[in-house]
C-alpha cells in the first residue's frame, strides 16, 4: 500500500481510534478480569499460607517477652558493654521487676531467660514478688535474695534477650547453649537431640521413599499395562486406602503389629515364634517405616502410573526385536522413560515424609519419632513457640535446598504429577 518514503499511516479502528491504543485497552480489561478471577485464590493463599509462614519465620528470630518488659535494664545494656553488672544494673533490674510484678509479666520475663538457662525462671518470679520491699543497695538485696543473680551466664542471657531480635533459638535448634562464660557452646551429649533427630528424619524419609518406589513401581507398571477391566479394579485397590482416614489406617496398623496384635498372634499360633518371643514391630522405627510406607504409597504409584501410561509398548517390542535382553530393554528403554515419574513420586513422598507428624507420634514410640514430633512438643507442651518456629524453619529450608538440588540434577520441568 505505502511506499518507502512516506510515513506509514496510523492504523485506526472503525470508530476512528488508533488501533494500538484500542488493543492495549482491550487487553488491559481482559487482564483485569483475569486478575479478578484469581484474586480470591490469591487472597486465600496469602492469608492461609504466606502470612502464617511469615509469622512463623518472624517468631523464630523475635521474642519480645523480655525486651518489652525490662526497659530500664535494656537501657543499661545499651549503655554499658561490661560483662560485670554494677549497682546501676541491679537498680535497673529491681525497678523493672517492680513494674513486671505490677503488670504480672514476671513469669514471661523469667520464661524467656529460662529458655536459655533452665532453672532460672523462679528467680525472676520470686524476686518480682519481693521487689517492692527491696531497698538500696540493690546488688546486696538481690544477692541476698538469691546468690545466683551474680552468675555471668545469667547476665549474658539477659543481655542477649534485651534485644527482641535474636538468633538464639537457632542456636538451641542446633543443640547449642549458653555456657558458663556467656558464649555459645555445644550442649552436653546427653541433652543433644535436634541434630540427631534431623538426621534420623532424613534417613527414615529416604528409606520410606525408597520402599515406596520398590513397591510402587511394579504396581504402577501393572496398572499401566493390564487390560482396562483389571486395571480399574487394581486402581480402586490403590485408591481405597488413599480415601480412608489417615487415623483409621494408622490405628489399623497398630492393631496388626502390636505385641498382642493380629500378626504376632498368627505367628505364635503357627509356631513360628514362641509366646515370649513376640516380634516388636510397633512403637519403634519398624512401625514408623511400615505404616508410613503404606500411607505414602499412592503418592508414588499415581505419578508413576500417569507417566507409564504414555509410554508406547512398541518401544520395548522394538528393542526386543533388535536383540536386547529383557533386562537391557528395561534398563535402557523403559526405565529412562519413567524417570520423570520416579522424580515426581520420589520428591512428593520424600517431602511428605519429612514433615509427617501423626503417624510417627502414634506408632513411633521412642526411637521412631521424627523432628515434627519435637516441633509439636514445643508447640503444645513446652510452649516455646520460638524454638518450634526455628526448628520448622530449618526443616523448611532443608526441603527447599533439596528441591533446588533436584531441580539442578533432574530439572523440575521434567516432573510429571499426572
Amino acid at each position: 500500500m505505502s511506499n518507502s518514503d512516506t510515513a506509514p499511516e496510523i492504523l485506526r479502528t472503525v470508530d476512528g481510534q488508533p488501533l494500538k491504543e484500542a488493543l492495549t485497552r482491550a487487553s488491559r480489561s481482559a487482564r483485569i478480569r483475569a486478575f479478578l478471577l484469581v484474586l480470591p485464590l490469591l487472597v486465600f493463599v496469602l492469608l492461609t499460607f504466606v502470612v502464617p509462614i511469615g509469622q512463623m519465620l518472624s517468631r523464630s528470630v523475635v521474642d519480645e517477652k523480655f525486651s518489652e518488659n525490662m526497659l530500664q535494664l535494656g537501657a543499661w545494656f545499651a549503655e554499658n558493654d561490661s560483662l560485670i553488672p554494677d549497682e546501676a544494673a541491679y537498680a535497673a533490674l529491681v525497678a523493672d521487676l517492680k513494674v513486671a510484678s505490677a503488670q504480672r509479666s514476671a513469669g514471661n520475663v523469667g520464661t524467656r531467660i529460662n529458655y536459655e538457662l533452665p532453672g532460672t525462671r523462679s528467680m525472676f518470679t520470686s524476686a518480682a514478688r519481693r521487689a517492692d520491699e527491696m531497698a538500696p543497695p540493690f546488688k546486696e538485696a538481690m544477692l541476698a535474695q538469691d546468690p545466683k543473680w551474680a552468675r555471668p551466664d545469667l547476665w549474658a542471657a539477659m543481655r542477649s534477650a534485651s534485644a527482641a531480635a535474636t538468633l538464639n533459638f537457632y542456636q538451641a535448634a542446633l543443640d547449642r547453649q549458653i555456657g558458663a562464660d556467656g558464649t555459645f557452646e555445644a550442649a552436653p551429649e546427653n541433652v543433644q537431640i535436634y541434630v540427631k533427630l534431623f538426621i534420623r528424619t532424613f534417613v527414615l524419609s529416604v528409606v520410606i521413599t525408597g520402599l515406596c518406589l520398590l513397591l510402587g513401581f511394579p504396581i504402577a507398571h501393572l496398572l499401566a499395562t493390564l487390560p482396562l477391566r483389571y486395571a480399574s479394579l487394581l486402581m480402586i485397590l490403590v485408591l481405597l486406602p488413599f480415601w480412608t482416614s489417615l487415623l483409621v489406617r494408622t490405628t489399623s496398623w497398630m492393631v496388626l503389629l502390636q505385641g498382642q496384635g493380629v500378626i504376632n498372634d498368627l505367628l505364635v499360633w503357627a509356631g513360628i515364634v514362641g509366646d515370649d518371643g513376640r516380634l516388636e514391630m510397633m512403637y519403634n522405627q519398624t512401625g514408623t517405616i511400615i505404616a508410613m510406607t503404606h500411607i505414602l504409597l499412592p503418592f508414588m504409584i499415581l505419578p508413576l502410573y500417569s507417566v507409564m501410561k504414555t509410554i508406547p509398548p512398541s518401544y520395548a517390542r522394538a528393542a526386543r526385536s533388535l536383540g536386547a535382553t529383557s533386562w537391557t530393554t528395561f534398563r535402557r528403554i523403559y526405565l529412562p522413560q519413567t524417570v520423570s515419574g520416579i522424580g515426581a513420586g520420589g520428591i512428593l513422598c520424600f517431602i511428605l515424609a519429612v514433615g509427617y507428624y501423626i503417624t510417627p507420634a502414634l506408632v513411633g514410640g521412642a526411637d521412631g519419632t521424627l523432628i515434627s514430633n519435637q516441633i509439636a512438643f514445643h508447640m503444645q507442651k513446652s510452649l516455646n513457640w520460638s524454638l518450634a518456629a526455628a526448628l520448622a524453619a530449618m526443616l523448611l529450608a532443608s526441603v527447599l535446598v533439596l528441591y533446588w538440588a533436584y531441580d539442578r540434577m533432574v530439572g523440575i520441568d521434567n516432573m510429571k504429577l499426572g
Binding site: L47, G107, T125, N190, I193, M379, Q380, S382, L383
Partner: protein
C-alpha cells in the same frame, strides 16, 4: 503481629457463636471426667439452668496458650495440674482468681481457712488431691507381688513390661525414691545435675521394657490388655477400673507422688460470669465430697472430708483408696510445683533426648 495472628486464625478456625449462657469445662476425660460430670456439671445445670459442656484433652494445659494467643478461647473453665496452673498464671494466660467468690465451708469455716494449705493461688483453686502411683496385674503376680517403688524398677524379681507416663514429671521422683532417696530429700537431690543423672540411670534399668503412655485412660487399658504387667497411673483411674469394673489390679502406694488438681479460668473466657458461678459451685463443700463418690481423689477442703462416704456402688468405703489416707502416706512425696514450673521444659527435653538414645 498479634492482629495478623488473630486474622489468620479467625479465618481458619471455626467461630464460636455464644448464644446463651453456658460453661465449657476443659478436663481430662475418662473416669475422672465422669466424676466431674456427675458431681459438678449435672447438679450445676439443675440448679442454675446454665448449660454445661465437657471437652477432653490429654493434658488441658496444652491447648490453653494457643487459644489465648489466637484470641479464640473456646473454654470457660479449665482443669489443670497445680504446677501447670502456676506456670500459665505467671505467663498471664489465666484470669486472676477473685477469692471472694469461693464459698465458705458447709460448717461455716471461712473459705480461706477451709481449703488445704496452698490450695488457693492467684489464678486457681484446688478441687482434689490426686496421685501418681503404680498398679500391677494380680494375675501376673498372684503371690508376693511388688510392694515398694524399688520393686517397680526391679526386673529380675518382677519380670515383664512396664508402663510410665511419657514425660519427666513424677517419673524422676519415683526413680530417685526407688534408688533409696527419702521422700523429703527428693527435690534437693533432683535440683543437682548428679541427682538428675542418678534418676535417669535408674530409668535406664527399665527403659527397654517400658511402654510410654500419654492419656490417663491408657494405663488401665494397657494392664487389662496384658501389654504390661505394671504401670504408673493416676490413682483414681486404677480405682475406677479395679472397683467398678472388677479388674484384678492392685495399687502400690509406696513412693506415690501426690499433687493438687485445680480449676482456673483461661484469659479471655467468653462466659466469665457463668465460669465464676461454676467455680463457686464446684468447689463447695458438698460438691467436692460428692466427687469422691465417683473417683478416689481426696477433696481439697477440710470440711468435705467427713462427708466422703461410700462409692457409687453403695458398699465400697472410699477412705482407704484416697492418696491422703494415713496408710498410703508412709512413703509419699508432695509434688513441688515451683520445681516443676521452673524445670519442666529442661527436664522434659532431657527426657526426650534420653528416650532417643
Amino acid at each position: 503481629m498479634k492482629n495478623l495472628l488473630i486474622l489468620s486464625t479467625a479465618l481458619t478456625s471455626f467461630a464460636y457463636a455464644a448464644t446463651a449462657e453456658e460453661v465449657v469445662l476443659l478436663s481430662w476425660g475418662g473416669s475422672y471426667g465422669k466424676s466431674q460430670t456427675e458431681a459438678y456439671l449435672k447438679p450445676f445445670t439443675a440448679e442454675t439452668g446454665i448449660k454445661t459442656t465437657m471437652v477432653d484433652a490429654d493434658n488441658p494445659a496444652t491447648p490453653i496458650k494457643a487459644m489465648v494467643e489466637a484470641n479464640n478461647v473456646t473454654v470457660d473453665v479449665v482443669d489443670l495440674e497445680f504446677a501447670d496452673a502456676v506456670r500459665l498464671c505467671d505467663e498471664g494466660l489465666l484470669e486472676p482468681l477473685d477469692k471472694s467468690i469461693l464459698a465458705d465451708g458447709a460448717d461455716g469455716t471461712p473459705a480461706m481457712d477451709d481449703f488445704l494449705p496452698g490450695a488457693v493461688t492467684d489464678c486457681s483453686v484446688a478441687t482434689i488431691v490426686f496421685s501418681q502411683m503404680y498398679a500391677y496385674d494380680n494375675t501376673k503376680f498372684p503371690e508376693n507381688g511388688p510392694t515398694t517403688m524399688a520393686d517397680f524398677f526391679n526386673l529380675e524379681a518382677f519380670p515383664g513390661k512396664r508402663a510410665m507416663r511419657k514425660g519427666a514429671k513424677a517419673n524422676l521422683e519415683m526413680a530417685l525414691m526407688a534408688d533409696g532417696v527419702p521422700a523429703g530429700e527428693v527435690y534437693t537431690v533432683l535440683a543437682t545435675p548428679e541427682g538428675v543423672d542418678r534418676a535417669f540411670a535408674m530409668l535406664d534399668k527399665v527403659k527397654n521394657d517400658m511402654v510410654w503412655w500419654e492419656a490417663g485412660a491408657q494405663p488401665p487399658q494397657l494392664l487389662a490388655d496384658g501389654e504390661v504387667v505394671m504401670s504408673t497411673a493416676y490413682n483414681g483411674r486404677i480405682f475406677a477400673a479395679a472397683v467398678s469394673e472388677g479388674k484384678p489390679f492392685t495399687s502400690v502406694w509406696d513412693g506415690q507422688v501426690y499433687e493438687y488438681d485445680v480449676l482456673a479460668i483461661p484469659k479471655g473466657a467468653k462466659n466469665m460470669e457463668a465460669a465464676q458461678k461454676f467455680i463457686t459451685f464446684a468447689t463447695g463443700t458438698q460438691r467436692l465430697a460428692d466427687q469422691a463418690k465417683y473417683i478416689s481423689y481426696g477433696p481439697a477442703r477440710k470440711s468435705s472430708g467427713p462427708l466422703v462416704g461410700l462409692f457409687e456402688d453403695g458398699k465400697t468405703e472410699m477412705g482407704p483408696f484416697m492418696p491422703t489416707a494415713e496408710a498410703n502416706l508412709t512413703n509419699a512425696l508432695a509434688s513441688d510445683f515451683e520445681f516443676w514450673a521452673d524445670r519442666d521444659t529442661q527436664l522434659n527435653e532431657r527426657f526426650n533426648a534420653w528416650l532417643l538414645n
